[in-house]
Amino acid sequence: MSNLEIGFELAENEVAFVDRLQIGSEEAFETLIHLYQTPIYNIAYRILGDPSEAAEAVQETFMKIYKAIKSFRGDSGLKTWIYKIAISESLNRHRWWKRWRKNVIASLDEPLNFSENGPRYLDVPDNLPSPESYYASRETERAVQKALDKLPFDFRIVVVLRDIEGMSYEDIGETLKLSQGTVKSRLWRGRLELKTQLHHFIEELHHGPVVEAERGRLELA
């Protein structure tokens, strides 16, 4: 069964799934890991900007879930609850690094990047039909992540959840415990700042020649 199929099944049987998790089913916990490791790894990575930090954050997140699942009451959906834990774990790490960086690292412009090898990308086979999607070049990746790293956490997280994870305003509000108005204004500020950071980059895209990306063309509206 593919993860997508499991995902759809789970949406219908969330109560049963949570029950199995709460009685300590190893199989259920394994399913949980395989379902959620990629999305929360991506959130952690976009927040922290470093693959090994993100991996540790994900590990820590699953351990917290494992310990706390028995007290999960189902007031929010399981996914929201999991994302909350993932985000708070990433935030804690982010805060810790910020404090540490102030004391140790001289240049505040350099994003935190400890891994020798770059981050690992999900390989999409070429025969997969995706007429509208294209993938950014490594250069673009780096430029965008650098701009994200400069964003204050509050704005960064809403932009990540909205523009990368595709969550609705309601889900974002529920996950971060924010009003819709706050979500809107933080999103606005976040996007504005990103726009400012990426201004030169965008200028080149708009007015320069069409940029040849690694797996396709970066075309503009």
């Binding site: 300590g24 190893e26 494992y66 294209y134 673009t140 990368i164 965008i202 503009l220």
Partner: protein, 235 residues
């Protein structure tokens, strides 16, 4: 709508969450205002860039690391285990309350508690790393008046059996590996052995990732005639 208003609503306009009046006003303004239209275009590009970011893949061993961490959480500390075994052993058992029997019983259980964790028990068939799988352990035994000890008194040699232990600690099956000759023909002894294994003996089940599961363990039965007849179960 003026430029100040339009800039404020740009992000929401992008997500199509404005009222239809605001949307109409916005579109009208963008048609006529070059700088706001440029701002809008840039914001659209930023969003496209965000959406174009590749999906990151977590390290391939992440899932396994999480599972191992989680399995560690299920192992109670050693001392707790010995005492919990003692506790189970002291639960009401169907024997006459002769103090001699109780004393021997207590002594034996404590002894077993100290010996067993270090003792080498025959490994199970499954080739699983030791940290994840623990074998069944003989944690206590019961001597009840229902077991015909008379049959065991005649045993000159110890009996070695390979037992199959279910995930609740009960023995589901056993196979005699060695013992006195013609043991299998001695129906009375076999019957007593059955009673002992299937109804008296309770083992701590094997665990996989901290959850009880079935497993195998080799046991040796030694009958030691003492003032308080007891059966030694050695793992």
């Amino acid at each position: 709508m003026d430029c100040r208003e339009s800039r404020k609503l740009l992000s929401s306009y992008l997500d199509d969450v404005l009222s239809w009046q605001e949307t109409a006003a916005m579109e009208r303004h963008l048609e006529g205002c070059l700088s706001c239209a440029e701002q809008h275009r840039e914001m659209v590009t930023v969003r496209k860039l965000m959406r174009s970011l590749r999906r990151m893949e977590p390290p391939s061993d992440l899932a396994l690391r999480v599972k191992i961490e989680a399995s560690k959480l299920n192992q109670p500390p050693f001392a707790e285990r010995v005492f919990s075994n003692l506790g189970t052993a002291l639960r009401p058992i169907a024997i006459p309350a002769f103090s001699g029997v109780v004393l021997t019983f207590l002594f034996f259980v404590v002894l077993m508690g100290t010996f067993l964790p270090g003792a080498s028990v025959s490994a199970s068939d499954k080739d699983i790393p030791l940290s994840l799988f623990t074998e069944p352990r003989a944690s206590s035994f019961y001597m009840s008046r229902f077991v015909q000890l008379e049959n065991f008194k005649s045993l000159k040699e110890p009996i070695t059996v390979e037992t199959q232990v279910g995930n609740d600690g009960r023995i589901v099956d056993y196979k005699i590996l060695s013992g006195p000759k013609d043991l299998t023909k001695d129906l009375a002894t076999i019957r007593s052995l059955n009673e002992f294994f299937f109804f008296e003996l309770y083992l701590e089940p094997a665990t996989l990732f901290g959850r009880p599961t079935s497993g195998k363990v080799v046991l040796t039965l030694n009958f030691c005639p003492t003032a308080n007849d007891r059966i030694d179960v050695l793992g």
